[in-house]
C-alpha cells in the first residue's frame, strides 16, 4: 500500500496539487493596500540624496523627509502609477537617486554579470560531471562490492552513511 502511495503517479498528483494551490494563492486578492503601504513601497526604491546609501524609507534626514512628503502627495492625488512617481522624482535628481540601476549602458553590467557568472558556473559543473562520468567507466572490484554491501547493511541513521 505504502509503496503504491509513493509511486510516480502520486508524485505527479502532488506536483499538480502544488501548482494548483500556488495558482490560487498567487491570483487571489490580497486586499487593499493602505496609502502608507504604497508610500513605503515607493520610498524603498528611492535613495536619500544626502545620506550614505540609505533609502528614503529608511532615512530620517530632512531631504528624505521632503521626498517622502512629495511621494505622499503624489499617492494621495492618485493620478500616477508607482513607476511614474519614481520616474518624476528621478528626473528631478537626474537619476542619481534610483536604488535599482537601470538596465542600459554600463549600469546593465550589474544585471548581466550575475547571470553570466551563474551560466558559467552551471556550465562548469555540467562539464565536470561529464568528465567524471567519462573517467568513471571501470568495473568495480570484488573489494568495492564487498564494501558497498557492508555499508548498505549499516545503520541508515549513522551520520556518515546517510
Amino acid at each position: 500500500m505504502m509503496k503504491k502511495l509513493k509511486s510516480w503517479p502520486v508524485w505527479m498528483l502532488m506536483g499538480l496539487l502544488v501548482v494548483a494551490l500556488l495558482t490560487v494563492g498567487t491570483t487571489r486578492d490580497s486586499g487593499p493596500l493602505t496609502q502608507s503601504d504604497r508610500i513605503d513601497a515607493i520610498t524603498k526604491r528611492i535613495a536619500c540624496p544626502t545620506c550614505d546609501g540609505e533609502s528614503v524609507f529608511v532615512s530620517r534626514a530632512t531631504a528624505a523627509e521632503s521626498i517622502r512628503n512629495q511621494v505622499a502627495r503624489d499617492v494621495a492625488a492618485g493620478t500616477m502609477s508607482d513607476n511614474q512617481i519614481i520616474g518624476s522624482i528621478a528626473d528631478t535628481f537626474q537619476g542619481k537617486i534610483l536604488l535599482v540601476p537601470r538596465a542600459t549602458g554600463v549600469d546593465s553590467l550589474v544585471w548581466i554579470l550575475p547571470i553570466a557568472v551563474l551560466v558559467c558556473a552551471v556550465a562548469g559543473l555540467f562539464v565536470a560531471f561529464r568528465r567524471w562520468k567519462r573517467n568513471n567507466s571501470g568495473d568495480a572490484t570484488a573489494e568495492d562490492i564487498a564494501l558497498v554491501k557492508r555499508l548498505l547493511g549499516e545503520d541508515p541513521t549513522d551520520e556518515e552513511n546517510v
Partner: protein, 653 residues
C-alpha cells in the same frame, strides 16, 4: 610629570610596539625553526605568542582606561569620548570608531594566535603547525602595524580639549552594542585559523585531509560566531533604527555577509573532501576567499571609498588594507599553483544525484550569491571610475537577486539531507522525500488557510515545509536509533541549523511580504484603529540628562500594556533620533515609531504603526542556528577510519 590618565597613550603605544616585536620574532621563530627543524627555536613560538597577546591586551586595557578616565589628551578619546556618556556605552565606545575597532580585531587575533600556539605546543615541530603559526603571526604583524600607523588609537590629540561628542548616538542606546561587534569580530577573525592551516598545508605539501581535520572545529565555531554576530546585528538594527527592517544591504552588512556566504559554502564542501578526498583546490580557494574577503570588506568599509551608515570616516588605512589583500591573494594563488600536482583529487563524483552532487550545487549557488553581493557593493565604485558619476545600488537590487537565490537554496535543503553519498536511485528518493514533500504541501495549505498570497512567499512557505520535513526526518531517524546522541555531530547538528535557516527564511518572507503600515494622528483620549488593533495616546514622558533629551509618546495598544516610542535629541549631534517601541508576539510584532516634532505640551502625536508578521521567528531561527552549530561541534557517530573513501559504487539492478 604625567598624570595617571595621561599614561594611557605612552603605555598603549609601548605595548603595541612590544606586541609588534613579539609577533615579528614569533613569525621568525616559527618560519626559521620549521625550516631548520630547530626544536629550541620552535619552543620560543608559544612565548612570543604570549608576549604579543599580553601586549595587545595591555594596549586594549590602556585604551579602556583612557576612555573610562576621559583622557582627552588622546585624539581618539576626543573623537568618541564624552564626559556625559554612561559607563556602559563609554566602555563600548572603544570599538565605536576605526582605530578602536582595529585594536579589538588585533586583541581577538592575538588571543587566537596564543590559543593555537598552546593547543599545538606539543606538535610545534610539525612543519604544518609551524607554518600555520608563522602565518598567524604574519597577519598579527599587519594589524600591529595598522594600530601603530594609520589606525593608531593612541595618537596625541589637540591641546586644550576637555570633552568630546561621544560615540554615534545609535551606538549608545541599546545593550547589543556590547555583544554584536565583539561576537562578529570573533567570527571574522576566527577565519584566520583555517586560513593559516591551509597555507601551512600548501607550504608543506600535505594537502590531504589532515589540515581540514585540524581546523574543522575552528572553522565551524568561526562560522557560528559570524552567523550569531550577523543575527545580533539584525536584531539591533530592528530595535534601534526605527525603520522596522532587519537588513538593508548596507555595504558594512554586506562586508560581513559575503565572507559568511563563502564560509557556508566551505563548511559544506569540506565534507566532500573529508569523505571522498575531492575538491581540494576548491576548498582551499573558498578558505582563501573567505579570509581575503574579510580584509576586502574591511577595506571597503573602513577606507571611506564606500558610503554607509556604518562606515567610519575617511582614513588613510585603505592602501594598507588593499596591499594586504593583494598579498594574500597573490601568495595563495602562487602556492595553490605550486602544489597543483598534489592537489589533483583521485576520486570522481559518480552522479549529480548524490550528497556530494548536492554540495557542489550548493557551492555554486553560494559562490554566485557571494559574487552578486560583492558586485552590488562595489558597482558604484566601478561606475564612478569608468564614467565619473555617482550611482547607488540599494535594497531593491539585492532583493531581486536574493529571492530566487534563496528559493534555490531552500530547494536544495529539501533534497540534500535525504541524498546518500555516491548515487541515489529514483526509488530511494521517492521513499525518503515522500513525507517531507507532504510537509511542504501541508505548509502551503496552512498558508492559504491563514490568508497568505503571492507567488514568492507561498513558494517559500512550501519549500520551507518541505525542507523542514527533510531535516526533521533525519533527526527523527537519528534520535530513534541513538536517543539524544542522535542530535549531535555535524550531519545531525547541521539539520538543527537547517531548521533555524528555514525559520529565518519563512519569517523574512512573511515579514517582508505582509507588513502593513499606517500613519496615525493620535489625540489624547481618542482611540484610533488600524488592522484590528487599537491605539490610544495616554500622555508623554520626558527624560533629560547631560547627553540627550528624550520625549516619549505613551501609547496604549489594544487597551492593554502601554508602549513608548521616543524622539531623542543628542546634544552633541543636534539631530533627532527616533527610538521605536515594539510589542512582540509569536505571530506578529506591532512596531511603533513616533514622528517629530514631539512636544510635552502637545495633546497629540503623529505615530507610524507597522504590523509585521512572524518577526519573532527570525530570532528563534537565529538561536537554533547557534544551538545547531554547538551540536555540530560534538563528535557524532563515525564511520570506520579504515574504510576506503573513494571506491566506486557499482550498479545494482
Amino acid at each position: 610629570m604625567l598624570s595617571v590618565s595621561g599614561l594611557a597613550g605612552p603605555l598603549g603605544r609601548a605595548a603595541l610596539l612590544v606586541g609588534l616585536i613579539g609577533a615579528f620574532f614569533g613569525m621568525f621563530a616559527a618560519a626559521v625553526g620549521t625550516r631548520q627543524q630547530d626544536e629550541k627555536v620552535l619552543k620560543l613560538v608559544p612565548r612570543f605568542a604570549t608576549l604579543s597577546c599580553v601586549a595587545a591586551f595591555l594596549a586594549f586595557v590602556a585604551m579602556e582606561w583612557a576612555m573610562i578616565t576621559r583622557d582627552f589628551s588622546l585624539a581618539y578619546i576626543q573623537k568618541v569620548g564624552s564626559r556625559s556618556t554612561p559607563a556602559l556605552y563609554n566602555f563600548t565606545a572603544v570599538w565605536s570608531a576605526l582605530e578602536g575597532s582595529i585594536l579589538l580585531w588585533l586583541l581577538v587575533l592575538t588571543c587566537l594566535t596564543l590559543a593555537i600556539a598552546y593547543k599545538y605546543r606539543a606538535r610545534i615541530n610539525d612543519p604544518m603547525v609551524g607554518w600555520a603559526m608563522a602565518t598567524m603571526f604574519f597577519v598579527g604583524i599587519f594589524f600591529f602595524i595598522l594600530t601603530l600607523g594609520p589606525a593608531n588609537p593612541f595618537g596625541a590629540g589637540a591641546p586644550g580639549v576637555f570633552d568630546g561628542p561621544g560615540p554615534n548616538p545609535l551606538l549608545q542606546n541599546h545593550i547589543l552594542v556590547v555583544f554584536h561587534p565583539p561576537i562578529l569580530y570573533l567570527g571574522y577573525v576566527g577565519m584566520t585559523v583555517p586560513f593559516a592551516f591551509a597555507i601551512g598545508a600548501l607550504i608543506t605539501g600535505r594537502v590531504g585531509e589532515g589540515w581540514l581535520i585540524e581546523t574543522r572545529r575552528w572553522a565551524l565555531f568561526s562560522w557560528g560566531l559570524l552567523t550569531f554576530g550577523i543575527i545580533l546585528g539584525s536584531w539591533w538594527s530592528y530595535e534601534v533604527l526605527g525603520w522596522s527592517g532587519v537588513w538593508a544591504w548596507d555595504p558594512v552588512e554586506n562586508a560581513s555577509f559575503i565572507p559568511w556566504l563563502t564560509a557556508t559554502a566551505y563548511i559544506h564542501s569540506v565534507l566532500v573532501q573529508e569523505r571522498r578526498g575531492m575538491l581540494r583546490v576548491w576548498n582551499l580557494s573558498l578558505l582563501v576567499s573567505t579570509f581575503s574577503l574579510t580584509i576586502l570588506g574591511t577595506f571597503l568599509t573602513r577606507s571611506g571609498v564606500l558610503n554607509s551608515v556604518h562606515a567610519f570616516s575617511d582614513s588613510n588605512i585603505g592602501p594598507y588594507l588593499l596591499s594586504f589583500f593583494a598579498i594574500i591573494v597573490v601568495v595563495s594563488v602562487v602556492l595553490i599553483g605550486w602544489r597543483g600536482d598534489k592537489l589533483h583529487a583521485p576520486g570522481t563524483i559518480d552522479s549529480p544525484l548524490s550528497r556530494e552532487g548536492a554540495f557542489l550545487a550548493n557551492n555554486v549557488i553560494f559562490s554566485v550569491f557571494a559574487f552578486v553581493v560583492l558586485l552590488g557593493t562595489v558597482f558604484p565604485l566601478v561606475v564612478e571610475a569608468i564614467q565619473n558619476r555617482q550611482l547607488v545600488v540599494g535594497e531593491p537590487f539585492f532583493d531581486k537577486l536574493a529571492v530566487p537565490t534563496g528559493l534555490t537554496l531552500l530547494f536544495l535543503m529539501c533534497i540534500a539531507p535525504v541524498l546518500p553519498w555516491r548515487k541515489a536511485s529514483s526509488e530511494l528518493l521517492s521513499e525518503r522525500l515522500f513525507w517531507p514533500a507532504w510537509c511542504g504541501i501541508a505548509a502551503l495549505v496552512f498558508s492559504l488557510l491563514v490568508g497568505a498570497t503571492g507567488f514568492a512567499p507561498l513558494l517559500t512557505f512550501t519549500l520551507g515545509g518541505f525542507a523542514g520535513g527533510a531535516a526533521l526526518r533525519q533527526l527523527v531517524l537519528a534520535t530513534r536509533r541513538q536517543g539524544l546522541r542522535g542530535l549531535v555531530g555535524r550531519a545531525n547538528g547541521g539539520m538543527v541549523v537547517h531548521i533555524g535557516v528555514i525559520l529565518i527564511a519563512v519569517a523574512l518572507a512573511a515579514s517582508n511580504s505582509y507588513t502593513r503600515s499606517q500613519e496615525l494622528s493620535l489625540k489624547q483620549g481618542v482611540v484610533a484603529q488600524f488592522a484590528g488593533h487599537t491605539f490610544e495616546l495616554t500622555g508623554f514622558t520626558e527624560m533629560s540628562d547631560a547627553r540627550r533629551t528624550s520625549i516619549s509618546a505613551v501609547i496604549r495598544v489594544d487597551g492593554g500594556k502601554s508602549y513608548a516610542p521616543a524622539i531623542s535629541k543628542f546634544k552633541s549631534m543636534g539631530t533627532n533620533i527616533g527610538t521605536p517601541s515594539v510589542k512582540s508576539s509569536l505571530t506578529k510584532d506591532i512596531y511603533l515609531t513616533v514622528e517629530p516634532p514631539l512636544k510635552m505640551s502637545s495633546k497629540s502625536a503623529k505615530i507610524k504603526v507597522f504590523i509585521k508578521p512572524m518577526v519573532m521567528w527570525l530570532w528563534i531561527g537565529g538561536f537554533l542556528m547557534g544551538f545547531g552549530t554547538l551540536l555540530s561541534a560534538f563528535p557524532g557517530r563515525r564511520r570506520r577510519p579504515t574504510d576506503p573513501t573513494s571506491a566506486r559504487v557499482p550498479e545494482y539492478s
